[in-house]
């Protein structure tokens, strides 16, 4: 059997120069690394024998307060272990290295994250919108996104009755 997340954390911690944090709460424990060391840590996870993460299962992001937290779910078929790597990006510099050279499956996953959050993946071969139309304005999964009332000449203001179904806005 493969390594536990704590053991993988030890490996990364020994390899990395900057701060690495193990977050054990929640169903999927995650390892938080800095954007500066991101690509070298990812290469380490892919290429070192004890790690051998050959699969990128998922890549996504969450907008929490004023940072965008990015997630990479990695799995190793040879060792049967998996890990979640996270990396927080500030909103004034939303860019990170692309991992398409390490995992081919990152291609569309990164395009989707670009589409919905506007993250610039440096080194991505073809960074275009994946799901939304090309002429879409804005990044819908950011918390401050305003739904457009007009798109391509189509009036999309919600009808009066639909407003009454909506729950009242929560105080934050």
């Amino acid at each position: 059997m493969g390594l536990s997340v704590a053991e993988i954390f030890d490996h990364i911690n020994r390899f990395a120069n900057q701060e690495v944090i193990l977050k054990e709460e929640g169903p999927d424990p995650s390892i938080s690394i800095t954007a500066y060391e991101f690509s070298s840590v990812m290469r380490y996870l892919k290429e070192v024998r004890e790690m051998d993460f050959d699969t990128l299962m998922s890549q996504t992001a969450v907008h929490i307060d004023d940072t965008l937290v990015m997630y990479w779910h990695l799995f190793s078929y040879s060792h049967r272990h998996k890990v979640v790597i996270e990396c927080a990006l500030p909103f004034d510099d939303l860019s990170i290295d692309s991992v398409t050279t390490l995992w081919k499956s990152a291609d569309w996953l990164e395009r989707e994250t670009f589409d919905l959050f506007g993250v610039d993946f440096k080194g991505h071969p073809d960074l275009r919108r994946l799901l939304l139309p090309e002429d879409w304005v804005g990044y819908p999964l950011r918390k401050d996104y305003q739904t457009p009332m007009l798109y391509g000449g189509m009036d999309n203001t919600p009808s009066e009755i639909s407003q009454s179904f909506k729950p009242p806005k929560k105080e934050r």
């Binding site: 939304l132 457009p148 999309n156 009808s159 009755i161 639909s162």
Partner: protein, 164 residues
């Protein structure tokens, strides 16, 4: 009434051309195969042996140029809306539209989303609104019969009549 074998040889029927035309049109409604979301599954079910849409003369067509009825079955996203309009414009007159399910009526349960059109009637004219999420095959059949009723009331050959 079954008219088969009821006539003398060389017999004939007298009727209004309008009626004849309407009967023919109402009973050969070719609809466009147009499933956009889960309602599309229910539309396929309606075409299956239990619903059997074909017994009303309605047959699915894969191209808008051969169809007279568009069943908008499912969630119309903003990206799809312009395509829906284009497909509608490619259909030859007279044409009819059934908006099937809450999603295409009003946006349904996705109407708070950023990508969903609040009702397909914002881009194309709709003849029959069919509520439900999803509507049962029986409901779609009744919507089809409503379209047939509407067609039978029309006087398509007269001047200054509305066609759709």
């Amino acid at each position: 009434m079954n008219l088969l074998n009821q006539f003398e040889p060389e017999g004939f029927i007298i009727g209004a051309v309008d009626d004849l035309l309407n009967k023919a049109r109402a009973n050969s409604l070719f609809f466009m195969l147009f499933g956009l979301a889960c309602c599309g599954i229910e539309m396929m079910q309606t075409g299956g042996p239990r619903g059997d849409l074909d017994r009303f003369g309605a047959a699915p067509r894969a191209t808008p140029r051969q169809s007279d009825l568009m069943i908008v079955a499912g969630t119309v996203t903003l990206k799809m809306a312009s395509r829906v309009k284009l497909l509608y414009e490619q259909m030859p007159d007279p044409k009819y539209v059934i908006s099937m399910g809450s999603c295409s009526n009003t946006g349904g349960l996705f109407q708070a989303g950023y990508s969903v059109l609040h009702g397909v009637d914002r881009v194309i004219p709709v003849d029959i609104y069919l509520p439900g999420c999803p509507p049962r095959p029986e409901a779609l059949l009744s919507a089809l019969i409503d379209v047939q009723k509407k067609i039978k009331k029309e006087k398509y050959l007269r001047k200054n009549t509305q066609t759709s």
